[in-house]
């Protein structure tokens, strides 16, 4: 009986898989093979993506060749100028804006996935959906739960820590319990200069409108950073992090991989980073240690919420790609979202969390499990889309590194941001 049931179950599962694999949204295979290219700026998923593309290609008669880049802006510039633009590009929001402004990429608003989370989390510029949200990532404190619980002796619940004061008490307790410096701060400009500075705007009141209003006030000279309570709350938080930083002897010599090992092995408990770091941490992970994520416990807007948003978008070229190639590209996206194989590739092989509400597969790594919990509780907020692409290179990176190194005061940091906004055009 038992055997029969399990066989039946397997048969039902097979059937459902088979029906999903030929999902209506994807459409019919091509009669003649179509060749397209994909430029990936998220190198850690290239292999998994190529495997998925091959599987899709075999079923739909499409050949997808994936190349990767660590600098999507520059690569797009060269590829578009050489007349060899990739049919599909996996890029950052700034690149989507640049390409959309020049009319290089296709409007994806008519795609079926737009309605199931694609438009809500996608790259929408002037009300046109240009980018499919590939992955949702959280910028957060990555945590080693086991290491915390070993010292506090009680189960760790991130939501218990709502304010800076709560968190400070915990850090103190950890230090007294033998974990001298529980916090890990990266030195990289994308981390402290880009991700952390997004809080300055993002938690003004936790909405994008609030962030834009703040930027407008600064640009009009009505408000200075140093007088802004949220900026000060963020910097108070940063000061606290710095006080407990495991790299504080020489903060700018922090090594990304060593940082991963500190968290993995429980030498520290909090790593200011994001959910994408799982592949970086995994080689150091210790059997039996529990890892997760938590929001930044700062007392301002969006309190207790996690900064989470789509971080990579998929765009489809319309300048050099033929109708057929664009068609093939769109088919591939639908295949990823609507078929069991595609979903499996995104969630399990690439290790991502997606925006699409039809996907029911559970997330595949501890950081994403933590992120999913916050999403399910509705405890996330968005930021970033309004920041110009040179925000990091022109002001964020250098200023925050200097502050971390003690070479700049808070006043000087504030003044640098004031000056940046005074001199820059904004196009939201």
């Amino acid at each position: 009986m038992k055997k029969f049931l399990s066989l039946l179950l397997a048969a039902v599962m097979l059937l459902s898989v088979a029906s999903v694999a030929m999902a209506d949204e994807v459409g019919e295979p091509f009669a003649n093979q179509v060749s397209i290219t994909l430029m990936n700026s998220k190198p850690e998923i290239t292999a998994a993506m190529q495997a998925a593309a091959d599987k899709f290609g075999a079923a739909y008669n499409v050949k997808i060749e994936i190349t990767e880049t660590s600098n999507p802006g520059e690569t797009l510039t060269t590829r578009y100028n050489s007349g060899d633009a990739p049919t599909i590009s996996v890029v950052d929001i700034a690149n989507v804006k640049d390409l959309a402004r020049e009319g290089k990429i296709a409007d994806l608003g008519d795609q079926p996935w737009a309605a199931i989370g694609g438009k809500d989390m996608g790259a929408v510029i002037n009300d046109v959906l240009y980018g499919m949200p590939l992955t949702i990532e959280a910028k957060a404190n990555l945590i080693n739960k086991t290491a915390i619980e070993k010292i506090t002796g009680e189960p760790f619940d991130p939501l218990k820590y709502q304010t800076k004061e709560d968190f400070e008490a915990l850090l103190k307790q950890l230090r007294e319990g033998g974990m001298e410096n529980p916090v890990i701060i990266n030195k990289e400009d994308w981390s402290i200069g880009s991700h952390f500075t997004q809080y300055f705007y993002g938690i003004q009141d936790g909405t994008i409108a609030g962030a834009e209003a703040f930027i407008e006030r600064v640009r009009a000279g009505e408000e200075k950073f140093i007088d802004n309570p949220v900026f000060n709350a963020c910097m108070d938080m940063f000061d606290l992090y710095m006080e407990y930083n495991i790299n504080k002897q020489d903060p700018l010599s922090a090594d990304y991989d060593l940082n991963a090992s500190y968290l993995a092995e429980g030498e520290a408990a909090f790593w200011i980073n994001g959910t994408w770091a799982w592949p970086n941490l995994a080689p150091f992970a210790v059997e039996g240690q529990e890892y997760s994520i938590m929001h930044m416990p700062v007392s301002a807007g969006a309190q207790g919420k996690l900064l989470a948003q789509a971080t990579k978008y998929i765009v489809v070229d319309k300048t050099y790609a033929s109708e057929e190639q664009q068609e093939a590209a769109k088919k591939f996206l639908n295949w990823l979202i609507y078929t069991a194989d595609g979903q499996n590739a995104m969630i399990n092989d690439c290790g991502m969390v997606t925006a699409f509400t039809n996907i029911e597969l559970p997330p595949s790594n501890p950081f994403n499990v933590g992120l999913k919990e916050y999403i399910d509780k509705g405890l996330t907020f968005e930021a970033v889309t309004y920041l110009p692409s040179d925000h990091r290179s022109a002001v964020g990176g250098a200023t925050m590194q200097a502050y971390l190194d003690g070479a700049k005061t808070r006043e000087e940091v504030g003044a640098a941001f004031d000056a940046y906004w005074a001199a820059h055009e904004v196009n939201y």
């Binding site: 600098n71 802006g73 520059e74 797009l76 510039t77 578009y80 100028n81 640049d98 390409l99 020049e102 290089k104 030195k187 400009d189 002897q249 020489d250 903060p251 700018l252 010599s253 090594d255 692409s389 040179d390 290179s393 022109a394 990176g397 250098a398 200023t399 590194q401 200097a402 190194d405 070479a407 700049k408």
Partner: protein, 294 residues
């Protein structure tokens, strides 16, 4: 060369000897360069289909870009320091390795290895050395210089760049100096020996003057390459800590590709080119004059 050649003969000779080289050179360097100069007079952002003519606006912006000038000053300092170290070290190593030291072929192969590692991996390896190996020396040699990573402080990070540039290019220039030393005719050296000149006299009075052509080449190459440094800058310090070691080439790159000011970046690149041209051609001119005198 025959004195009384007709124009047709000259033309044929030019085309058959210099023609291929000049064809490749013009197609790959000159034509794109001219097109690049044209772009400095437009507001092109790197992606747009339209290019509007904006006259000298980009040059005005470039001249007002104080970051550009401060990076240029630092790049000049970096280049001068590097050139001095590179050439002194390369020259004496080349001398050492052509003076009949045991196993000199083996050594030459070793000094050549810096050239083998290029690109980003070079930066990663040296990052390990400056941020990990250096502080670990502190327990053995407790001087403040070894207390912290060299890459987390602006002045030591700058020094790291000079060290790696010297390490890499001295291995390169070494090869050119070796071929210079080897090219000195044995007769001359023998004559000096017969006249009773000691080793130091031979080096200073015979070899050094005959080495001037090698010096001219090496100074020119090391100067222009140090000025143009980009890969090393990106991979070792990435301009950090806090943009304190951002050299001109990297700044130009940021302007063109991150700030989308392609025309300004290109204009700055041309100004940069003129600066290097003035410095390196003056130096080459002086060297060539010496060559004639010697």
């Amino acid at each position: 060369m025959k004195q009384n050649m007709t124009f047709k003969e000259k033309l044929l000779l030019f085309i058959s000897f210099a023609g291929p080289a000049m064809l490749f050179f013009c197609c790959v360097v000159i034509i794109p360069l001219v097109y690049g100069i044209y772009l400095t007079f437009t507001d092109w952002n790197g992606l747009a289909d339209l290019k509007n003519f904006v006259g000298l606006t980009n040059y005005v912006t470039a001249f007002q870009d104080s970051t550009f000038w401060s990076t240029l000053l630092m790049t000049t300092g970096f280049s001068l320091l590097s050139v001095v170290f590179i050439n002194i070290i390369a020259f004496f190593l080349a001398y050492l390795l052509t003076s009949g030291v045991k196993g000199q072929n083996f050594f030459r192969a070793g000094f050549f290895t810096p050239n083998l590692i290029g690109g980003l991996i070079l930066g990663y390896i040296w990052q390990i050395i400056f941020s990990r190996v250096v502080p670990s020396l502190y327990s053995a040699i407790p001087i403040p210089l070894f207390q912290k990573s060299w890459l987390s402080n602006p002045s030591t990070a700058f020094a790291s760049l000079v060290v790696v540039q010297t390490w890499q290019l001295s291995g390169y220039m070494l090869l050119i100096y070796i071929s210079g030393f080897v090219g000195i005719s044995e007769d001359v050296l023998e004559a000096a020996n017969v006249d009773g000149a000691n080793e130091r006299q031979t080096l200073w009075n015979i070899r050094l003057p005959l080495m001037i052509p090698s010096f001219v080449i090496c100074l020119f190459l090391s100067l222009t390459r140090s000025f143009k440094v980009y890969d090393l800058n990106l991979s070792l310090t990435a301009g950090g800590p806090y943009n304190s070691t951002k050299m001109t080439a990297m700044h130009i790159y940021t302007q063109a590709f991150e700030n989308h000011l392609y025309g300004v970046g290109q204009a700055e690149a041309l100004i940069f080119f003129l600066v290097i041209a003035v410095i390196s051609l003056t130096q080459t001119y002086i060297g060539k004059k010496r060559e004639v005198e010697a």
